[in-house]
């Protein structure tokens, strides 16, 4: 949790929150995500997608969706939600899809079904009365996520804010005091079988505790686990939103990237085994083991320790016992049994099963006739003549 701070400038009577309140709201959601580990998260009224951008780094999330009525604002910085080029270099374990929709929270669209968490940060006060009326039915009744977070200004705090006459923002259609928000929230929760708890951000200065938090927050939790499938199909509705952005992140869950990673590791491993077998590698191995002892004295990077124990003693013995695992040279070709390849830790970890390994490298890596070994041709290095 971020430590928060309230500063009051005595001269102007200005109240300043550190960090700023909007950041505290985002952090509040991030903390909630870290606590409950939702897989599918939607942000309603996502504006310039800042919250979504922060959430895309949360490793538990696999589906992120944003919805806003202002397409241009959403598009302004949506490129931040695209995968980075570097994401393709070492694709991550988890899959992640980010989608942005243009539409209104007063409309139902099946793309919002099945979420674990739906956030509505400073959203409801922008809704017209008609929209607000439909809002509970859409969010709690239709989307029916496991958890909903709604934040909105607390009008009781407004007298403490400089320059605020009616509302904090010209586009606000209303601002509620604590009682108004809570009664609206409790009514909605009751109707759609949710529990609700209230909290907030931005504590008032000493002596004015009664006004409550500057931002009031309701955290809604669905009472009963949902039998998702049946409910969803029942609710089949026409699409009301327009998809304006969709990014699928590279992931090892995607066969294409997994295959790429496995093939790379296999070829890299095979190349090392080949060189070791041909003797070129001897000196390097020796240096390696010499280095290890010194490293302990030098406080090595932790990483070295982990990579030096690639194979435990027991594993090594097991390997030695299994003769069919030994690579051998026949003529111009090095044969490296698949079993040996499978024992390379990274390959093992990526594939899980031997069968999966065979499937993934089929057609991508040169194999012996019976398919039991990876073959590498030895090229004799005829260095080019220098001119």
């Amino acid at each position: 949790m971020m430590d928060t701070n309230l500063q009051k400038d005595d001269l102007t009577g200005t109240i300043k929150f550190i960090p700023p309140l909007y950041k505290q709201r985002y952090q509040f959601i991030k903390d909630l995500v870290n606590k409950y580990k939702p897989k599918k998260v939607a942000d309603l009224g996502c504006a310039d997608c800042t919250l979504l951008w922060m959430l895309k780094f949360c490793k538990c999330i696999e589906v992120l969706a944003g919805l806003d009525i202002r397409e241009n604002v959403m598009k302004e910085k949506m490129h931040r939600l695209s995968p980075l080029p570097a994401d393709y270099l070492q694709p991550s374990e988890r899959s992640l899809t980010v989608t942005l929709h243009h539409g209104s929270v007063a409309h139902k669209d099946p793309c919002m079904l099945g979420f674990d968490l739906v956030t509505c940060i400073e959203l409801i006060e922008h809704l017209e009365a008609a929209e607000l009326e439909k809002f509970p039915e859409v969010v709690f009744g239709f989307m029916a996520p496991a958890m909903v977070v709604i934040s909105t200004p607390n009008s009781e705090f407004n007298p403490l804010l400089p320059g605020v006459t009616l509302f904090r923002h010209s586009d606000h259609k209303f601002e509620w005091d604590q009682a108004q928000f809570q009664s609206w929230a409790v009514a909605a929760a009751t109707r759609y079988d949710y529990t609700v708890e209230f909290t907030g951000l931005g504590t008032p200065p000493p002596g004015t505790e009664d006004v409550g938090f500057c931002t009031q927050i309701g955290v809604f939790v669905r009472k009963y686990p949902k039998n998702g499938e049946t409910v969803n199909s029942e609710k089949h509705t026409e699409h009301a939103y327009k998809t304006v952005f969709k990014a699928v992140y590279p992931s090892l869950k995607d066969e294409k990237y997994l295959q790429n990673a496995v093939v790379s590791e296999v070829l890299f491993g095979a190349d090392i085994i080949k060189r070791r077998l041909l003797g070129n590698f001897k000196s390097e191995c020796k240096e390696h083991s010499d280095g290890l002892e010194q490293k302990l004295k030098f406080q090595p990077f932790k990483y070295f320790m982990t990579c030096s124990k690639n194979l435990s003693l027991a594993e090594t013995e097991k390997l030695a016992a299994d003769r069919s695992m030994e690579p051998f040279i026949d003529g111009n070709t090095v044969y490296i049994p698949l079993a040996k390849i499978f024992s390379i830790p990274k390959v093992n970890q990526l594939c899980g099963t031997f069968e999966k390994l065979s499937n993934l490298i089929a057609g991508k890596v040169a194999l012996s006739n019976d398919g039991s070994a990876v073959i590498v041709t030895i090229e004799y290095e005829n260095e080019e003549q220098e001119n």
């Binding site: 780094f57 790429n260 790379s264 390097e284 990077f301 990483y303």
Partner: protein, 785 residues
């Protein structure tokens, strides 16, 4: 890449520099030395260096490069993110109009016409197409750019679809009815804002601003194809090519730009690859640590990494590694923008949910260049090795010839493969609707690939002492030359040979071979004084210091290993303190059985050059011509300073100085493919293109003067920026081609005129080994080969 790599390999392995050529009356330099017009030729490293000229060969150090500045109209367009990326310093310089003899026609005529396909595409711009530039003001003034955009864009019916607005300048593809348009908008707060749109410019498609504008549109198009911009080019990281044995990843991509060519604005596209390491800097450090001696780990690590560009895992930024800080650890703290302290570990966890696995790793240090104000102290950032990927190649990787070979296999596309990729790109732009619309909105469309007619100029005869030969292959005439006498050299009578104790036999063997190949060439070699020394770098230098006297014509050293400091110290001493040409040979090279005669032939030819001899010539009808080559190179020792090499053919009588200045570029945008047997091939050697792909404001042409054994040939681009010689363009082109025949280190055609390549070799030797201006006593010999 190949050109440079080959030169470098030669430079280190076999450089030598004997010579005795200083006397008056020593043989003339190649035929081109008879003339009355000095001609300066240069190969710039970047497009920015300036050329100088003067009478004799010299090297000068420049601490600062100065640019050939170009008058450019003052408008800069801001891209998204506020950066101005396009550089169009070349635009707006019209050198051709100052040269009366090429004003109307700059094309040659000799040779056989050949049809070539280019990598250029027309854009289908109607002749009357214009871009309308408006200035937009808001009253009251608005701080927020977002608000300015929103208010202006709310007037869609007036502005139409095709509009680009950066907050102040508005571009439209259609002209508004009035010169000045007044609009009124109301903000959400209820304020009334008056917007005034004033027409400031009507731009034709060839104007620099318009070209820059097109390039911004083009970037949008490529982004719509899901490509990422890294540096200047666009890549597809989602379709990587892996070279697992070296942990390398290649991202396929394109270098695409829109430029004004001779007759019209065209789009050019070429295949580009981004080389990345598919491991993090930490993994790289770790594997380095396991491979080398611990004592020099820090030093080696810094040597390998400093200067490289890294790509971070958490944002799309690239940084240059300027230093490594071994004292800072990820658990240390740094101040955040709001003043609070946070540790690196916590920061990356909080911000990006990244858990650092190694809490003892050092930090990479990068100094950020400040864009606006260069006087402000640059900001320094610390980067975590574990979160950085290396781009490009380390020096270790470049010297690994297996790696370079595997890389070349993936990167060198032949014309057919290249064409396939280009078609794919063109196809994608047309097929993917969002991309196509970006262009169509502005009235642009990707047209077909442009074909043009080039000429293959006649093959040159190689003149030897008593015979001439018409080479079978212009790429390599070493075989044709066999048993022919070279034009001229003095005998090698007094020379010194140094080798380590265990290489005595190799040296003897080399001597025998040299004598055997020397005879048929017409090169007499006396038995040298042989000195055997200890196996240590210092021993060679000491022996050189002890035994070299003014009578010695040449020093030959047989070195046991490729140790740079040994080589450097010998070269330094013999170029500065006691100027004598020297020739270094690696023992490894002499160990190759069966290759000895060809090795000896090459060494003999190099020695001849270093003695001031002349190997072959081509027929140049111009009398009294001086050809000057200028090149610039970085000094390896003094970072930030550069070495300028100046090489001229020697000439006695220059009376009326007429000058042609030609800028030689090894890299250029166009590629040319010749159609043969229903497939695409490299055009024949000697192909000249001087239409369509050239630029209207320049006196320029393309020449393919080298034989590409693999991949697609890169034409060399020649821009005659100044010429009062009155030479016809055809003669200028032919003369240029002839010059490409005269590089004595290679019995074949090369891709730049020989003087440029000599200048390059000179700067390379000075920049890498000598670091000072070599003695003038050597100035009349090719001691730097």
């Amino acid at each position: 890449m190949t050109g440079r790599a080959r030169v470098r390999a030669r430079g280190q392995a076999l450089t030598g520099s004997p010579g005795s050529g200083g006397q008056p009356g020593s043989p003339r330099r190649p035929d081109c030395s008879r003339s009355d017009e000095p001609m300066a030729v240069r190969t710039p490293q970047s497009e920015k260096e300036a050329s100088t000229s003067c009478g004799h060969r010299e090297t000068t150090k420049l601490t600062q490069r100065y640019g050939l500045s170009a008058g450019v109209s003052g408008c800069t367009l801001l891209e998204r993110g506020g950066k101005t990326r396009c550089n169009f310093q070349d635009l707006g310089v019209n050198t051709r109009e100052t040269m009366a003899h090429v004003k109307d026609c700059k094309t040659g005529f000799s040779g056989i016409p050949v049809k070539v396909v280019t990598n250029l595409y027309s854009l289908g711009l109607p002749r009357e197409w214009q871009l309308y530039q408006y200035h937009v003001t808001f009253n009251p003034e608005l701080e927020s750019k977002r608000l300015r955009l929103a208010l202006l864009y709310s007037h869609t019916e007036l502005l139409g679809k095709a509009k680009a607005f950066d907050g102040a300048i508005l571009f439209l593809s259609q002209k508004l009815e009035n010169q000045v348009t007044e609009l009124v908008s109301v903000t959400k707060r209820g304020e009334t804002v008056n917007i005034t749109i004033t027409l400031t410019n009507q731009l034709v498609s060839s104007s620099p601003v318009c070209i820059q504008f097109f390039n911004i549109i083009l970037k949008k198009v490529l982004k719509k194809l899901s490509m990422y911009q890294v540096g200047r080019n666009f890549y597809s990281p989602s379709d990587p090519v892996e070279i697992p044995q070296h942990k390398l990843t290649l991202w396929p991509g394109f270098a695409v730009s829109i430029t004004q060519f001779e007759n019209r604005v065209m789009l050019s596209a070429d295949v580009s690859h981004k080389v990345l390491r598919s491991e993090t800097v930490l993994e790289f450090m770790t594997s380095l640590y396991t491979r080398i001696d611990n004592a020099c780990f820090i030093q080696t690590c810094e040597k390998e990494l400093v200067g490289l560009i890294v790509l971070t895992r958490y944002n799309n930024k690239t940084y240059r590694i300027d230093d490594i800080d071994w004292c800072v650890k990820p658990t240390d703290t740094f101040p955040k923008r709001d003043g609070t302290e946070i540790s690196y570990v916590d920061y990356y966890k909080q911000q990006y949910d990244i858990v650092l696995t190694d809490l003892n790793q050092p930090m990479l240090v990068s100094r950020l260049k400040s864009k606006q104000n260069s006087t402000v102290e640059p900001r320094v950032v610390h980067l975590i090795p574990e979160l950085c990927y290396l781009t490009g190649l380390t020096s270790q990787a470049i010297s690994d010839f297996r790696l370079m070979k595997d890389l070349a296999q993936e990167m060198h596309l032949n014309p057919e493969q290249r064409q396939q990729r280009l078609s794919q790109l063109a196809d994608n732009i047309q097929r993917i609707k969002e991309a196509r619309l970006e262009l169509e909105m502005w009235g642009l469309q990707l047209g077909c690939q442009v074909s043009l007619t080039g000429r293959v100029v006649p093959t040159e005869k190689i003149l030897m002492r008593e015979q001439t030969c018409l080479p079978m292959s212009a790429g390599d005439w070493s075989k044709d030359m066999r048993n022919m006498k070279i034009i001229g050299v003095q005998p090698l009578d007094n020379w010194l040979m140094l080798c380590s104790n265990r290489n005595g036999e190799l040296a003897e063997n080399l001597l025998n071979c040299l004598k055997r190949v020397g005879g048929p060439m017409g090169f007499h070699i006396e038995y040298p004084r042989i000195v055997q020394v200890q196996e240590s770098p210092m021993a060679f230098l000491r022996a050189v210091q002890q035994h070299v006297n003014p009578e010695v014509q040449l020093v030959m050293c047989v070195l046991s290993s490729n140790q740079k400091d040994c080589y450097d110290s010998i070269k330094k001493f013999l170029s500065l303190d006691r100027p004598v040409p020297s020739q270094c040979v690696l023992a490894r090279t002499l160990n190759k059985q069966g290759m000895m005669m060809s090795v000896a032939t090459k060494i003999a030819m190099q020695i001849i050059c270093k003695l001031g001899g002349e190997l072959w010539a081509v027929d140049i009808p111009l009398k009294s011509l001086m050809v000057i080559g200028i090149d610039v190179n970085k000094d390896a020792l003094n970072k930030g300073s550069s070495v300028v090499g100046f090489v001229a053919s020697t000439n006695s009588k220059i009376t009326s100085p007429k000058v042609s200045v030609i800028v030689v570029r090894k890299k250029c945008i166009p590629r040319f493919f010749a159609e043969a047997n229903r497939s695409l091939q490299n055009p024949p050697v000697g192909t000249i293109v001087d239409t369509e792909a050239t630029r209207p404001e320049w006196y320029d042409f393309y020449l393919i003067s080298q034989l590409a054994r693999q991949g697609t040939v890169n034409p060399t681009y020649y821009n005659v920026v100044y010429d009062n010689s009155g030479l016809k363009p055809d003669h200028m082109q032919r003369l240029t081609y002839k010059m490409c025949h005269l590089y004595y280190n290679w019995p074949g055609l090369i891709r730049v005129p020989a003087p440029c390549q000599y200048a390059h070799k000179l700067t390379f030797l000075v920049g890498q080994s000598i670091h000072r201006e070599p003695s003038l006593e050597l100035a009349d010999k090719l001691f730097y080969l």
